[in-house]
Assembly symmetry: C2
Homo-oligomer: 297 residues x 2
Amino acid sequence: MVDFSKQIQVYQKSVEMALDFWLPKPSVDPKNLHEAMRYSVLAEGKRIRPILLYATGQAFDVELNNLNGPACAVEIIHAYSLIHDDLPSMDNDDLRRGKPTCHKAFGEATAILAGDALQTLAFQILASDPEIKTNNAQRLKMIETLALASGSNGMAGGQAIDLASVGIKLNIEELENMHSHKTGALIRASAEMGALSAKHINSELFACISDYAKYIGIAFQIKDDILDIESDTSTLGKPQGSDLALNKPTYPNLLGLDGSKEMANKLHQKAIKCLDVFDEKAKMLREIANYIINRSK
Amino acid sequence: MVDFSKQIQVYQKSVEMALDFWLPKPSVDPKNLHEAMRYSVLAEGKRIRPILLYATGQAFDVELNNLNGPACAVEIIHAYSLIHDDLPSMDNDDLRRGKPTCHKAFGEATAILAGDALQTLAFQILASDPEIKTNNAQRLKMIETLALASGSNGMAGGQAIDLASVGIKLNIEELENMHSHKTGALIRASAEMGALSAKHINSELFACISDYAKYIGIAFQIKDDILDIESDTSTLGKPQGSDLALNKPTYPNLLGLDGSKEMANKLHQKAIKCLDVFDEKAKMLREIANYIINRSK
């Protein structure tokens, strides 16, 4: 297998080409809406969710081409959530991935509609992409998985909990509950959808992958909170310290910086342990767990 | 068959019970979000899209119970679009169906999230409802149909065109293009999804139903524009003359009131003609076409 960073680039390039294919062309009416959709999705991003989906699919012997649709779907859901989270009535952010946020660039109404249309597109891709080779029952399960992870008991619910938590002192369980909805659910769904892309899935292996993704999802968030303190604005692409400035509850607030790092490391170990039942085809999943802990942005 | 208004009530009651079932309970966290979702969906509504879906399904011999999920899905998509369309950065409406709009009642952030989570729920229902008895390929086609009708080349795109058209003089083709996206696409999808609920569909009959729904979709919009002039605020549940006040392009603006009525009547006749290939099982579809032309709100 090629080395980790090369393989990550292969995944990133794959999903970005597929995103370009699925996103409506900017020359097609309504142009302004289509431009806003492309602007936000094709902006530089880590593509963590697609990467996780590709790596999981490959651990289950699925070809890269057959994973492009689901990889697009999770990235598009993520992109739509960022557009809406950034809106003035939500987090009111001007900067995202180093560029003006969608509503700053296109106006608020177009940003809302771009987010709406992106969410729709994610489900359209899953329902119709001919490159998805799993059986129809598993394809429907994939759609259900993405919907459950995105809706009021998943990501959108997490954002509602987050908005209601600003300025409130959460305990560690409440903080975990918020993040397990807001970011954890979609990360877990990404891995599960990779597994569901396989022609045949073994329920035991599926459960191991789901647990693995649960642990790295929490670790990912803790690392985000740590980076918000330790990194700088130009590396992050958003104002450093923005969570603290908003008085948002964070892991470092509750556990301290060292305590947060310790917790992230424990979760990392638990995630790696979930992969014991897999052979070397899960190598990329192990590397992704390492990357999530060690990343600098 | 029972008479029209009784049958409509059966449809309305069916979808409302199913909506109550599928919508997250207000006692479940995040409560505020779930309350907002229920507030908007369960508000009094005509349920035109579910009615059309039920009537089409019945024309194809589908049991009512097996149509509840798709009927919920189209109504939920419609409800989410109303919440977002009413937002301050969009149409900035305070009143909807005689009650404060969602953002007036719950705040803007919650309204955005409620719309988002409702859209997700629609796809979740279609992917998972065990009462949908069609085969998986047609179920996936149903999801694709709803997605195409809702996204940037359908409803959301129509709203973008609408926002860009305020104060601009559209010609009749441009006005039709806007409405065929904004409202026509979802109305057409509702009928198509009713047909797709059948175990076996005949492509010729499917095409007739699709055309029928296209014509009544346009007629529905023309009638809306006529009512905006002829009806009063308490009957409409929204300020009478609000389209005129916003200087929105309307059919009466372009064709005059009589010209608009004439066009609606022609579309009505074309819609009825599409049903010639159906027997008396399409009786409700004929009655719905009549109702759309004759309704007073």
